[in-house]
């Protein structure tokens, strides 16, 4: 898996991680996300447009990135009720353009209940407040 990263400026500083290839292992994504986090990134866009397949290890990687950003937020934490009712979506992690199979994996695992999924990087960047 190749991961390219760059910074965008929206309402807040945003790091884009653009993934290419199947997301079938935890380490490449979490390593890059942790490096970005150590470099100050607190808002991340994962561009999944070139990810044909997300395995369970890939789902775990996305969850790890989500937790990394969530735990750094000292504000109100989500509850099961706020997620189930659709009142909560992560303010720090946004997904972009998952493939049909990727979207199926994310939806089955319930990730679309707490992560916003956008059609473009620009839309994801604009969604940060």
């Amino acid at each position: 898996m190749d991961i390219t990263s760059w910074r965008e400026t929206g309402a807040v500083p945003i790091t884009v991680l653009q993934l290419k290839g199947d997301l079938v292992a935890e380490e490449p994504l979490t390593t890059r996300a942790r490096a970005a986090f150590a470099d100050g990134a607190r808002n991340i866009v994962l561009d999944l447009g070139d990810v044909p397949y997300i395995s369970s290890a890939g789902l775990r990687a996305i969850h790890t990135v989500y937790m990394l950003l969530r735990d750094a937020d000292t504000g109100e934490q989500p509850t099961a009720q706020s997620i189930a009712s659709g009142r909560y979506k992560s303010p720090h992690l946004k997904l972009v353009k998952p493939s049909k199979n990727g979207l199926k994996a994310l939806s089955t695992a319930g990730y679309d209940m707490f992560l916003d999924i956008h059609d473009s990087i620009a839309a994801a960047v604009a969604s940060f407040t």
Binding site: T4, V24, P52, S56, R60, A80, T108, A109
Partner: protein
């Protein structure tokens, strides 16, 4: 490194291949700017940053390239041919020492990785043995119903679990769970063993599917260090009245095939993977099984089976099999699904465990 201040510079765009595995190599490179991804047989092995050297092995052993390096961003490289390389080695001992140091570091790393790989391989085997020991030896015998199961382990990645629990104090109730741990090796197998034990305990205590999953989630989350997640679909069959009560924690929705209409419905019930959040809010649902109905429970190893072209068997592939004919038994349907997956994959390597469990409410004799 001033040795290459006057050497030839090469500028390549992102995506360009600098060296290709298997091709003859008569040049080496020093990366001045940009980043390179290095792979062997398609697997990433290194990520090179400015200052890195590549292609030096071919300078010494005259063999073909051992890896492929692709520019992740626009790169600037210094290129040496063999004659210049040998000249530098002769003229500048510090250059030779630098190259030897790079090769020494890489050799040590390869040795460490080989030891790590062997340990992981051993752990995978142990984990697989534990996992297989957790699977049921057979299917429950319940008047008016038939159960059948198919399971196949993948070599590397896996973590499927299915189980039947028939409480001794309530033999007309069958608890059925199908699950997938997001991990491999001993940690995943132990995680699965604990989850299975908990579910047995909660089933025998009479907890509903949603409550049982909620309690498993609570237990998992008590161990904050655990990085593993578990998808699970838990159903309880009341065999006396043909009612299925179920809850889902991030697992593939089973297919309900109605005998009367031939229509298929998904047993929808939303829920997050177990372990993902501190609390799990179950969405418990029920459905009625009429005589002749089938329910197909499965893991993503079925729908995500791939053929040689990288295509997926997909939900459509599974649903096409389920509705392709009238099935006489649960066993027949399980065999047809496994056979269809094998035909589709056509010998392509199995990337994940796959499990399919079929429940049939038998038609009147």
């Amino acid at each position: 490194m001033a040795w290459f201040a006057t050497e030839e510079r090469l500028h390549l765009p992102a995506g360009a291949t600098v060296i290709r595995e298997g091709e003859p190599g008569d040049t080496m490179f020093v990366l001045v700017q940009g980043e390179l991804s290095v792979t062997v047989k398609g697997k990433p092995i290194d990520y090179l940053l400015p200052g890195s050297v590549l292609g030096e092995m071919a300078m010494l052993d005259s063999r073909s390239r051992s890896a492929t390096a692709v520019a992740v961003s626009a790169v600037e490289l210094v290129r040496f041919d063999r004659a210049r390389f040998l000249e530098l080695v002769r003229q500048r001992p510090e250059f030779a020492a630098h190259i030897m140091n790079i090769m020494s570091v890489r050799t040590r790393r390869l040795m460490e990785e080989e030891v790590k790989r062997q340990r992981m391989e051993e752990e995978l085997v142990i984990g697989r043995r534990i996992q297989l020991s957790l699977l049921p030896r057979g299917c429950p015998q319940v008047t008016g119903y038939q159960f059948a199961a198919g399971y196949r382990a993948a070599h590397e990645v896996g973590g499927d679990l299915y189980d039947f629990i028939v409480p001794t104090n309530d033999p007309s109730t069958v608890h059925l769970v199908i699950a997938d741990v997001t991990g491999k090796g001993v940690p995943a197998a132990l995680y699965m063993a604990v989850s299975r034990t908990l579910l047995h305990s909660y089933a025998c205590d009479g907890y509903s599917p949603g409550e049982a999953l909620r309690r498993v989630n609570d237990f998992i989350r008590q161990d904050a260090a655990s990085p593993l997640l578990l998808s699970a679909f838990y159903a309880v069959l009341d065999a006396d009245i043909g009612r299925l009560t179920y809850a889902n924690a991030g697992h593939n929705a089973p297919i309900h095939l109605r005998a009367a209409t031939g229509e298929m419905e998904l047993l929808q019930s939303r829920g997050l993977l177990l372990g993902a959040f501190a609390t799990f809010l179950p969405d418990e649902q029920t459905c009625s099984l009429e005589p002749g109905d089938f329910v197909v429970f499965f893991t993503d190893g079925i729908t995500e089976a791939r053929n040689g072209d990288g295509g997926f068997f997909d939900d459509e592939g599974l649903e096409a099999v389920v509705r392709s004919q009238s099935w006489s038994s649960a066993e027949e349907l399980v065999s047809a699904i496994v056979s269809a997956v094998d035909t589709f994959a056509a010998g392509a390597a199995q990337a994940d465990d796959f499990t399919v469990v079929v429940l049939q409410r038998l038609p009147p004799a």
